[in-house]
């Protein structure tokens, strides 16, 4: 028997609406960026609320949101940034599974907090995987960046009882955050003055910030770069310092190698925080130990494991 597919139609595309899953990490040696949801914590919760398999695609909605028409009985869930979501004009609760009968219009309003919202739909997304993932990487024609008039289809799964993610574990996305880091390979090559500045400065997220990386406004004073480095690996969370002394935090879609000195590496658990930062938000870097980073990650994963069990 042919099941009726859910149709997702984009009346307006939004600033940057992309299909994302956990990304692709098997091709880093071939120059393919990891990609995937910028905020993996919010991503995992969204799919869990609908009991979707791990690595099911979602829509990553960035700051200026799309208008979406959803046709077909289904269950959806929104997590991440609060962009005042509305279903048929009525406030749509986040962090819980919501039932849609026949069809509904999903729209958004003011930005309450954060920068990226995740829209999960219960079912099997009818999308082609590229290199083992549905994640979007625009410049290489991998995955799908949404444009006005696009439509996607999802094969629905049977309805499940409502799930809600506990309020006390929901992230709040303040506009000033502490980012914990560990040394990156060239950490020792920076002089005391530069290191001192890096850890005492309140940095501002610049407008030149996207899925590839975030540029920070403040520059290291009197920074004199060493001789050119031989290109070497970069990772999501690597903080490079350009020859002008500007810090760039590389993120999901960043290239896999680079030639700027790497001063620090954002701990894995804090990478999600960047997804929710927007231009003019403030950050401070704090150095932690490897053991602390591991403990923080383990704790974060246990929140997921416990509440997603």
């Amino acid at each position: 028997m042919l099941k009726k597919h859910i149709r997702i139609f984009f009346e307006k595309a939004g600033l940057e609406t992309t299909v994302q899953d956990l990304g692709r990490s098997d091709y880093l040696a071939y120059g393919v960026p990891q990609s995937g949801a910028m905020d993996k914590f919010a991503y995992r919760i969204a799919n869990h609320l609908l009991d979707n398999p791990i690595n099911t695609p979602v829509l990553e909605i960035t700051y200026l949101a799309p208008n979406i028409l959803i046709e077909g009985d289904c269950q959806i869930a929104l997590t991440g940034a609060n962009l005042s979501p509305k279903l048929n004009g009525k406030t749509l609760p986040m962090y819980e599974a919501v039932n849609i009968q026949e069809s509904a219009k999903l729209s958004f309003g003011n930005i309450q907090n954060g920068c990226r919202t995740y829209l999960a739909i219960r079912g099997n997304w009818l999308l082609e995987q590229h290199l083992g993932s549905c994640s979007t990487l625009n410049n290489s024609k991998l995955g799908k960046a949404i444009q006005k008039g696009d439509e996607l289809f999802v094969e629905p799964f049977a309805r499940i009882p409502k799930r809600i993610f506990p309020k006390k574990f929901r992230p709040t996305y303040p506009e000033e955050v502490n980012i914990r880091v560990l040394p990156a390979p060239e950490f020792e090559d920076f002089d005391k003055q530069s290191i001192g500045f890096f850890f005492s400065q309140t940095y501002t997220i610049s407008k030149e910030s996207n899925r590839i990386g975030y540029r920070l406004q403040e520059v290291l004073p009197n920074f004199s770069p060493q001789t050119e480095l031989i290109s070497s690996a970069t990772l999501p969370g690597t903080i490079q310092i350009t020859s002008a002394g500007q810090a760039i935090v590389l993120l999901a879609d960043a290239q896999t190698t680079g030639g700027y000195p790497r001063i620090a590496q954002v701990i894995t658990a804090d990478l999600d925080k960047f997804a929710q930062l927007k231009p003019n938000d403030k950050i401070r870097f704090q150095l932690v130990t490897w053991e602390e980073a591991r403990r923080i990650l383990s704790k974060k994963m246990s929140v997921l494991a416990f509440n997603l069990a």
Binding site: S25, D26, Y27, L28, A29, Y30, G31, V32, P33, H130, L131, L137, N139, S140, K141, L142, V181, L182, P183, A184, P185, L229, I230, S231, S232, A233, L235, G237, T238, Q255, T256, T257, G258, R262, Q265, V266, I267, T268, W290, A293, R294, L297, S298, M301
Partner: protein, 236 residues
Amino acid sequence: MQIKPFGDSAILIAFEQEISLEINAKVNALHQAILKANLKGINTCIPAYASLTVLYNPLKISYSELSEKILNLDFSEEKTKNDLKTLRIPVCYEMPFALDLETLAQEKAISTEKIIEVHSSTVYQVFMLGFLPGFAYLGKLPEILNSSRKAKPRLKVPQGSVGLAGYQTGIYPCESPGGWQIIGRTPVPVFDRARENPFLFKQGEQVQFKPINLEEFYILEEKIKQGTFKIESLYA
């Protein structure tokens, strides 16, 4: 060989920081040895010119345990050369593809023919992949072809463009901004997500370029479009 921390889930192993076949072969050998040792907790590796970055799961193995295991690996016996035959890539060094060839020849006070001859007679090694999916850094260029990057990078370098920068040469896998000096174009896609092996290049492999004329370029391009072209035919 020096082991450096790289955040909570990566380790960088740095060799002598120079661009040379010998050092790059060591990177390749260590990479092979790590793959073979099948160490628990390792996710993947990123080889570069003179370093190897190993990504691991910190919930499965600690930094100190992993660095000790890597230090104890014996990779001196690993084959440092690839068994594969040399990859011969057809390149058309004519206009409208050879965007910077004429200027480059003038700057270097040599003929365009000389540039083509040297570029296509040298056997290169794939030092690493990066920048874009499938982009291979090939080296080393002979001194005579050593070129600075363009002062003003192009906003759009066409797919397949063959460029020079420093002692390196490479092919753009897709249209992209770029500052390399463009001397020709190949119709062969170096990255094609639909191909069984999407990547034409692999670290450690040997590569040479074969000059073709415009007519041959378009015939080959048509064959590729039709799906009658076989990648295997590029191996001599």
